[in-house]
Amino acid sequence: MTAAPQIEVPGGAAAAPPRVTRGRGLLVAVAVLVVLAAAPLFLAPFATTTLTRIVVFALFAVSLDLLVGVTGMPSLGHAGYFGAGAYAAGWVSINVTAEAPVPLLVGAVFGALAAALTGWVTVRSSGVFFLMLTLAIGETLQQVADSWESVTGGANGLAGIPATRVAGTALANPGYTYWYVLVAATLGVALVVLLARSPFGAALRGIRDNEPRMRALGYPTALYKYAVFVVAGSAAGAAGALLIAQQRLVTPADLGFMTASFALLAVIIGGAGSLWGACLGAALVIIVRDALGPSLDGHGTLVLGIAFVLVVYLLPRGAAGVRLFRRRT
């Protein structure tokens, strides 16, 4: 009566997240970090600034990948939490203190708070409805940023944010700002990576693969989804706080649909579920937007659109699908 059931596996065995042999992965990560840390010593200021944006965006993309790739929750509104963190960190820097960990922590807390307030609506839905709800939430948060002028500065944005201070000294030049951002973002990415590799992370992947089955195994999946939604919001908020350390300005555009799309593009270019891939994707997206955009007559969105189409067809598993590390079988 029933045809032999087939488990749907888009992309076959490669569907599994790439597993890096512990030692080698760590070695590569350390090498990349050393190069990144040394970068300001030989890069010109503008290049360092661009690199700073890449690092900020990498943390943001990784936080989104935790939802999209690891848990299978494709959010179109994640920029809202990025922006919430940025506004909160900016407001605190202006009105309270810009002393180092404070704006970052405030950003992370507010990102989490915004995600906690809105997330419960989304975790019960799935598929296209999740897409639509997150889109609506993102638009609503942008609307709040646009109209709550007394706090957010409205359409003009929140400007005049003082430079972040570390141990009482303002981070006045691009190099020091970069190092601060690099350290904080590395910490953030590392925490997300650890979470994804933990038993909790395994449960998230289980939810992505087969949510009903997870419920049958006794996992309260809605709770798990809510938890990861808040965690991802918090990481995005921290990324937002780092954004203002570099940009010293937040505007409603930072939590708009385009920002969310850029982040999604970074995630899928990198291969959903591959956190290091998301970092790579973030680098590509920012280079196209900030370094190449001006030489494309402002048609960066065209490139972005084409990239979406191509990536969906050609790299169903993203850049991570082009495997650098052999999977043990």
């Binding site: 030989f42 030049n173 001006p294």
Partner: protein
Amino acid sequence: MSELSRRRMLGLIGAAATVPALAACGSSLGGGSTAPTGAGGARAIKVGLVVPKSGVYAALGTDMQAGWELWLAQHGGKFGDVTVETVVADEGETPQTGQPAVQKVLQSDGVDVVVGIVNSSTALGVANLFTESKKLLIVTNAGAADVTGKARTPYMWRTSFANAQVSAAMGQHLAASGFKDGVFAIAPDYAAGSEVIAGFTKAFEAGGGKVVGTVKPAFGKTSDYQPFLTQIQQSGAKATFCFFSGAEAITFVKQYAQFGLAPAIPLYGSGFLTEGSVLKQQGAAAMGVQTTLHYSDQLDNPANKTFVEAYAKANNGASPSVFSMQTYDAANVLNRALQTSGGVDGDALSKALGGIGTVDDSPRGPWTFDGQNPRQNMYLRTVQDKGGTLVNAIVQDLGPQSQPA
């Protein structure tokens, strides 16, 4: 599409090859500023012209660049004996693109002065870059009060206007011309809209006028103004004051006519309602709409006549807009400042700008810096058909106006 995308992709690859060039040399740990091109007795000055080349403000960017280039062409590409090198960068639509553009010209191209900036949030967002690098920014459009107000820095000057400055002139005018007992004010719900309404209301009420209703439609999300138009009709207003620009200016003016308000309740506005390319799109619906602004290409003074003529010649017969004029004047004031500054660093130029006195050869008429914003004459203009083209004809000179406190 395939051809186009291929070209784009090739362009992308070509551009990718230039990325390493960003890394050119040096480190990022200096004081944040590169060595000035010529301290004292400058022989050359490098100017970054940051204007929108893409996005909804692209047309403004084109006008601004044309204004800048016209002044230089008229003066042999020099400020006195100082050769001007211009680097153009795309401001785009939002600070997300504008801020990197400013950063690029400052940090990568090493310019001495930056000119341009349409978007107020971009202007406010880059202010600190200039304070820290001690370089000069001349804002040639962005009208937020804070640019020369709350966010004031000695390094940020403005040759354009403040939002409330333009609408305050209309407030005074309407209060003095028989509309005291009822004007309805409408502007989009965003920072500039609020500033315009506040400026108008304050001046209008100071003149004894009464605002019978104020409404702020959602900015950028309103395409149908019928609900507001009905509200205006029911308010019993004698006139409407509005501020819209771009697509919203077109839609609002057309619908104002379509719903039959135009004959009964005359429409007044801030000058941007009918400025530039929107006027042609508004068509007949704009006839008779009156606005205040610090410029119109119809101004009858010798400087403007020369300006309009030269501009048309250089730009295939196009008329200059207020945006062209504001950037043209930026070159003018920079030229004047360089005569006395003795250097191209922000401190020297800022000091010199404070002392240039009256700019007496501007197409907008004579004006001076009051604070770091122009004190300039406001003109009441009305839309008329002049030989088949709609123009903002000058009705009245409303006298000089500063940025309201």
